[in-house]
Amino acid sequence: MAEKEYAYYAGCSLEGTAVEYDMSMRQVFKALGVSIVEPEDWSCCGSTPAHTVDRVFAAALAARNLTIIEKMGTGTVTVPCPSCLSVLKRAHLGMTGDESFRNEVNELLDEPYEGGVVPKSTLQVMLEDVGLDTIASKVTHALPGLVVAPYYGCILTRPPEIAQFDDPENPMSMDKILEAVGVKVADYAFKLECCGAAFGVPKRDMVNRLTYRVLSMALEAGANCIAVACPLCQQNLDLRQGQVNSTMNTSFNLPILYFSQIVGLTYGLSPKELGMDKLVVSADDIVRSRITIEELAQREANAKAAEAEAKAAEKLKKAKVKEEDTKTEET
């Protein structure tokens, strides 16, 4: 793939609680030859606090960033955080689809937004622009024994008229990317179910119950790890496991990794570069299980050989038994 430049709007979470998402995403893009540029002087996307109060104000916060990005001339901005993405997209679609809304928002801005930016999730850029073949071609390492439950969260693909990406009720983009890097993906029915993060402060009981369901369904699906693409989901599922364990009488110890961290591991990137040490539930076992693909091939060949040997031995044994049988018959 020819090198393409994207604006990269990381948002506030990726500087704080989700810094490992930022680290791993940047490393993966680098490995894939996707160059990303952070917009200068970016500001709040307008998510949660603003958009619950004032639609125009929230759009103005988002559009201020879109204006900056528009001037960079990259055309597309890629956004790792679904919450930022949703707000940026909502502002972009609202302003390009409705002239009076655009005027109202531009009224609040120093410089108007002309509608020339396409916001895409990092997942979408990887799937649609980079492509599965390229993603697969960079793999150097394998994670045998890892079974991942891909968890998309509530807003990555919804509402469909805003997200305009993947199936709103049964998304497959993360599944496909993880499969492309050779990771086993569980058939997980709770891809979109609410993890409760937004109610973490006022309704802890309920959130514990919701988090419990997301975690237990992943175990039920045979997974030993959950992959996410959202800082809030990651924080909630990772940080709250202890709380769930004490209130729901469970003993979850399920690493919650960003999909970019898993991809990075298969690309042979160091755990340090991928921010693996930032996770609350340790992913050390996963890191330790990592082998090169040559090793994996060797292991598989050995296993095959052993199997063949065992089969041959069995055959021999059977033949012998038969021989003896005929002998006894003869005597």
Binding site: D167, P168, E169, N170, E193, M217, E220
Partner: protein, 653 residues
């Protein structure tokens, strides 16, 4: 010319917001108006007598009635003036009710608008010419499209009334949806046991000619004289030889054909007889699955058939039938399950539709009436029914109620308990709609005697957990969330128009609504007629309907056909297009635009080519009139001069 104007009060409908006395006084001043009056109910018997007497007394020769829409009473008043000796086309109506009094509250403005509207009608009436109908012979045969219960009822009633009937059914057997049902509500009698005899009657009736596995290719003509092309689809089995013994079906090695009759509950053979009671009971090959067609070799059925009926070379055949009237009973369709990704529709094998559940309940179904989960063939103990799966859901473009789901869910809940006594059914519902005779009692029985738990609320999501399906929903009466671990989920999927309904409507020149259901002539007073004379409706093709309503409409449509055919001759409407052969330049643009194919090319003596209208086919729509570059083709009763007279009447100032 002496015009009489009769302004109707319509009780307070018109007089409430139009000063009718002032309008009559104003009209008396209009040149040509010899008499103008206002009356309480002009359409009543004394009202009509008033018109008749005035015609004689005042020597009137044109009549204007200012009242309701001409769709309501034009025919009434045409008959009135005809009885008084005037040509019926000397009547003109001014619609001052729907167009004025019902839509405006300002009495002054309404009165002025009414006066001007009546003046237009007067101007038009003075231009009206006498027109005379011609009469034509009718072909007293009837075509019934669709062999479901509505179509069969129409066919049997017409046949019993002595008419020859051509019945066209697109699937291999008659019976329609009803043949798939297990029991029927609210009596729980066996569906096929009451339908089967009707199907046999259809097959044995000497007046009914059945074309099964056939579709309408093309329809030409007009009321009394239709020419219908019917496509007999290739079955690859010579039905004159097939005895329906079923040997071929037994031996066919292609075991994974989609079973259309059973809605895919279980696979069937590539050569099959859809169900044991099928009429006609003949085998048919599905070339999508038959090895002879997909792989080019097999021939097992041809070898095994004792009568040599198999013919892999068979082609579709087109036959032509001539009829005088058509009953459309083409039935309905169901929304696809994949429209419900949140319920796992199409992805989870144990989420099925109501009609699939009927097949599981049915003794002649693929499981011989044992309720089992499609995934692992175990007996479900907890069954959840989701009503309104798609119905009353604007986001899916289906704002309407599917009419019979509430009732069949109650029935299925009762039958579930009958089949599996230790089972528990849950019904998620929006409202329980059971407004038929014995219907509400029936839904109560499901709850009170059979213990079905009714939860008022929608289901938000269904997901698999181990072998179970977890159904998440709301109980809006308790204000709580509900979670049910179910073994089987039945979705009452919304009723839609039948696939291909729109295409059939276009062949028939009848209207259909945005959902594809056929539009009746009047929602209350002409429920089985269409706006195309000679075409009648029956059953769910017109809108979702249960069995009694469909049967009722089948009989009603038959009665309409019998009434139409009680005469030997029909009168044509003279308000049709007419060509002025002197002005016509023979460009034939009118022929290209006519939606009814009513215009022919005609060569005059001397070789001049002109357009010519087939009066009986012309529907009087006027498209040709506006197409004609030289004004040579005029619609009688709506000529350019007549319409311009109306325009002049209001544009004088």
């Amino acid at each position: 010319m002496r015009v009489g104007v009769f302004i109707c009060h319509c009780g307070s409908n018109i007089a409430g917001t139009v000063d009718v006395a002032r309008a009559a006084a104003e009209l008396r001043k209009v040149p040509g108006v010899a008499f103008a009056t206002n009356y309480m109910y002009t359409c009543s018997e004394p009202g009509q007598d008033e018109i008749k007497q005035a015609i004689k007394r005042e020597n009137l020769d044109r009549i204007v009635v200012a009242a309701c829409s001409p769709r309501m009473h034009e025919l009434t008043f045409r008959r009135t003036i005809e009885k008084a000796g005037l040509n019926r086309y000397f009547l003109e109506m001014a619609n001052i009710r729907e167009h004025i009094s019902w839509v405006g509250l300002d009495k002054e403005a309404n009165t002025i608008k009414a006066i001007e509207t009546i003046k237009m009608a007067v101007a038009k009436a003075m231009q009206n010419k006498p027109l005379y109908s011609s009469s034509f012979k009718i072909n007293k045969r009837v075509l019934v499209i669709g062999g479901g219960v509505a179509g069969m009822q129409a066919a049997l009633d017409c046949g019993d009334g002595g008419l020859e009937v051509v019945l066209v059914e697109k699937s291999p057997s008659v019976g329609g949806m009803m043949a798939r049902l297990d029991k029927t509500f609210p009596t729980i009698d066996c569906s096929i046991c009451i339908l089967g005899p009707k199907m046999v009657d259809v097959a044995q009736h000497d007046k009914i000619k059945l074309y099964a596995y056939s579709e309408i290719e093309d329809i030409k003509g007009y009321v009394g004289n239709y020419e219908v092309k019917i496509r007999k689809k290739a079955t690859y089995v010579d039905w004159t030889k097939c005895t329906g013994c079923g040997l071929c079906m037994e031996k066919c090695p292609s075991k994974n054909s989609y079973d259309y009759f059973n809605f895919g509950v279980a696979p069937t053979k590539a050569i099959n007889i859809p169900f044991p009671q099928a009429i006609p009971k003949k085998a048919k090959i599905d070339p999508d699955f038959c090895r002879q067609f997909t792989k080019g070799k097999c021939g097992v059925c041809a070898k095994i058939c004792p009568t040599g009926a198999i013919n892999y070379e068979m082609q579709d055949e087109i036959v032509t039938e001539e009829v005088g009237a058509i009953v459309v009973a083409s039935g309905y369709g169901l929304i696809d399950m994949d429209k419900f990704p949140e319920y796992g529709g199409g992805r989870y094998p144990d989420v099925i539709t109501g009609i699939q559940y009927e097949r599981l309940l049915n003794a002649s179904g693929p499981t011989e009436g044992h309720i089992v989960r499609p995934s692992d063939h175990t007996e479900p103990k907890t069954v959840v029914f989701v009503s309104c799966a798609g119905s009353r859901d604007k986001s899916l473009g289906i704002p309407y109620c599917s009419n019979f789901c509430c009732m069949y869910i109650a029935k299925q809940a009762i039958l579930t308990k009958d089949h599996i006594p230790d089972s528990q059914s849950y019904v998620f519902y929006m409202d329980i709609r059971s407004p038929g005779k014995g219907y509400d009692e029936f839904t109560r029985r499901a709850q009170e005697d059979y213990g079905a738990k009714y939860v008022r609320g929608r289901v938000s999501r269904i997901y698999p957990k181990g072998k179970k399906l977890v159904v998440l929903g709301a109980d809006t009466l308790l204000g709580t969330q509900v979670e049910v671990e179910a073994d089987l989920v039945v979705l009452a999927t919304a009723v839609t128009a039948a696939p291909g309904a729109a295409q059939l409507a276009e062949k028939l020149h009848i209207s259909y609504d945005t959902f594809g259901f056929y539009v009746e002539s009047h929602p209350k007073l002409r429920p089985v007629e269409t706006n195309t004379s000679g075409v009648f409706l029956a059953g769910a093709a017109q809108g979702p309907k249960d069995i009694p309503a469909s049967v009722g409409q089948g009989s009603a449509a038959a009665a309409k056909v019998l009434a139409l055919f009680s005469k030997d001759m029909l009168e044509s409407d003279p308000a049709v297009a007419k060509v002025n052969e002197n002005a016509c330049v023979g460009c034939l643009k009118c022929k290209l635009t006519c939606p009814f194919g009513a215009i022919q090319e005609k060569e005059l003596r001397g070789g001049k080519i002109v357009a010519s209208v087939i009066e009986t086919v012309c529907a009087g729509c006027g498209v040709c009139t506006s197409t004609c570059p030289c004004g040579a083709i005029q619609l009688s009763h709506f000529t350019d001069n007549q319409l311009l007279a109306e325009v002049n009447a209001i544009c004088q100032k």
